[in-house]
Structures are given as C-alpha cells and as structure tokens.
C-alpha cells in the first residue's frame, strides 16, 4: 500500500485506539448495566463512573508515556467538533421524539425497534466516520442489538446479554491493553 501524508496522519491518530481503553470503557458500562438490572441494586449504577475514570487514568498513566503526545491538525480537530455537535443533536432529537411518542403526539410505526438503540447506532456511525475507526461501527451494532433484545425480550434476557457483552469486551480490551504495553514499552531516555 502506498504511503501518503494522509495515511501517516491516520496511523498516528489510530495509535491512540490500540490501547483497548474504548473496549474496556464500554465493557464496564455493559457489565454494570447487566449487574444493576439483575440484582436490582441501585448502588451498582455508580460503577458506571468507573468507565470514564478508567479512560482518564489509562490515557494519562499508560498510553501517553508510551506513545507520547500529539496535537492533531485543524482538520482532525474539526472532525471531533463535528462528532460532538452530532452527538448533542442526536440526543436532543431522540429525547424530543421519545417524549412525543410517550405523549401520543407521534405514533411509532415500528415499536419493536428501540428509538434509543437507533440513536446510539447513529452516534457510533458518526464516530466511526469522523474518527476514522471502524471499531465504532461494531460497538454501535452491538449497542443496538442490546437495546433490541432488551425491548423485545425484557428481563432477564436483556441484562444477561449485557453481562456477557461486558465480559467479552473487557476481555478483548485487556488483551489489547496487554499487547499495547508489550509493543510499546516506556522509552528509556532522559531529555
């Protein structure tokens, strides 16, 4: 494959996705939501906070010392801004849509398809496109399937599905993290 300036930039960008932190982040969310619903213990909801906390710590303590820091160009930062705007717009649109359906102002023609799931899928498709990572498509589809199962089969199928998803994603994430740490040892030098 030809090396282009675009591919160099893309590879630099993608290096930040190789540490498995996104997989672990979503794994924590799915696992927590599964445990929370199965045990009916609201305390487990707080465990979701571990996701963002983990991301912050790992990025600062494991990823950055190993692959360094980079400030991407305006085009790349513009893409991130567009994703953020897209996510906010999707959330607002979904909240309005769901409240209109609940108040019988609007009729949902396809009740078995969860609107929330569609919104999440749309957000992940946006992220995959603008953030140059096909992994988000898989995460979006999995999220949609989870919502679909939860809407149509209810409990305990929904929570169990999420529990399994959480375990699978956590295993995948930690495997990636292990490989990342093995392939990127902390450089030994003094500036």
């Amino acid at each position: 494959m030809a090396i282009t300036l675009k591919s160099i930039e893309r590879n630099m960008w993608r290096a930040y996705f190789d540490d498995g932190s996104w997989e672990i982040f979503f794994g924590i969310i799915w696992l927590t939501s599964g445990i929370r619903s199965l045990t009916d213990n609201i305390l487990f909801t707080w465990l979701i906070a571990l996701g963002p906390l983990y991301m912050t710590i790992v990025r600062k303590k494991i990823t950055a010392p190993r692959i360094g820091n980079v400030t991407f160009n305006r085009e790349r930062m513009g893409k991130i801004e567009r994703v953020t705007v897209g996510i906010i717009a999707s959330i607002i649109a979904t909240v309005i849509l769901i409240s209109l359906i609940q108040k019988d102002v609007l009729f949902n023609p396809i009740e078995f398809v969860p609107i929330m799931g569609l919104m999440i899928l749309f957000i992940f498709l946006l992220m995959a496109y603008f953030m140059d990572s096909n992994r988000f498509i898989i995460i979006g589809i999995v999220f949609f399937c989870s919502e679909l199962i939860w809407t149509n089969m209810g409990e305990p199928a929904g929570p169990i599905f999420n529990l399994i998803l959480g375990i699978v994603f956590l295993l995948a994430g930690f495997t990636m993290l292990y490989k990342f740490m093995k392939n990127h040892p902390i450089p030994k030098f003094v500036e």
Partner: protein, 105 residues
C-alpha cells in the same frame, strides 16, 4: 547569476532528502505538534539519532522545539515552521516532477 544546476537531481534539498529527516518532517507536516516520545515510537529512530536530526532541522529553521515541564518532567514539543513546511512542499513537487518524467513500464 543563477547557480541552479540544469540537472534536477543536483537540486534536491539534501537536508530534507535524508530518510530519517524526511520521515520526521512528514510526521510534523501532518500534525500541529508532537513530543519526542511520539517521534521515537513512530519513526523507530534511537533517542540519540533523533536528537541529532532534530538539532540539524532546528538549526536550519525548519522546525521549532519548545521545551517545557509536564508534571515536573522535561517535555519537548516539536513543530514544523513555515520555512520547513515550504521546503517540504518544494521537495515534494521537485521529486514528483522528476518521477513524472519517467516513462511507465
């Protein structure tokens, strides 16, 4: 008097043409700034080798190095300058010009 050699191969900017420096400039061209760790990891150069090339490029004014402290540890941020960007562009067009004249196989 124009000292430009009519043979295009003699007019290649040797400072940019050197593989390690070309690689460093390519990385810097596509981003705003990077630190030394990032360059070491992505270029595969040793710390000493990278430092030598960075110094050479900095002396010519192609790149700028900003030294700062992050969490009490020294951290150098490297950026490409306007001159460096222009020279890199010139080099690209020059090389393209040379290869475009070659007949296809």
């Amino acid at each position: 008097m124009n000292k430009t050699n009519p043979n295009p191969f003699f007019n290649i900017n040797k400072l940019v043409h050197e593989p390690a420096r070309l690689m460093i400039l390519s990385y810097l061209y596509v981003v705003e700034s990077v630190d030394y760790v990032f360059l070491v990891q992505h270029t595969g150069l040793t710390w000493g080798n990278l430092s030598a090339h960075i110094n050479k490029l900095e002396l010519e004014g192609y790149i700028a190095v900003k030294k700062e402290f992050v969490n009490k540890k020294p951290n150098s941020l490297v950026t490409i300058t306007k001159l460096g960007r222009d020279e890199f562009d010139k080099y690209r067009y020059h090389m393209k010009g040379i290869y475009n004249d070659f007949p296809d196989e």
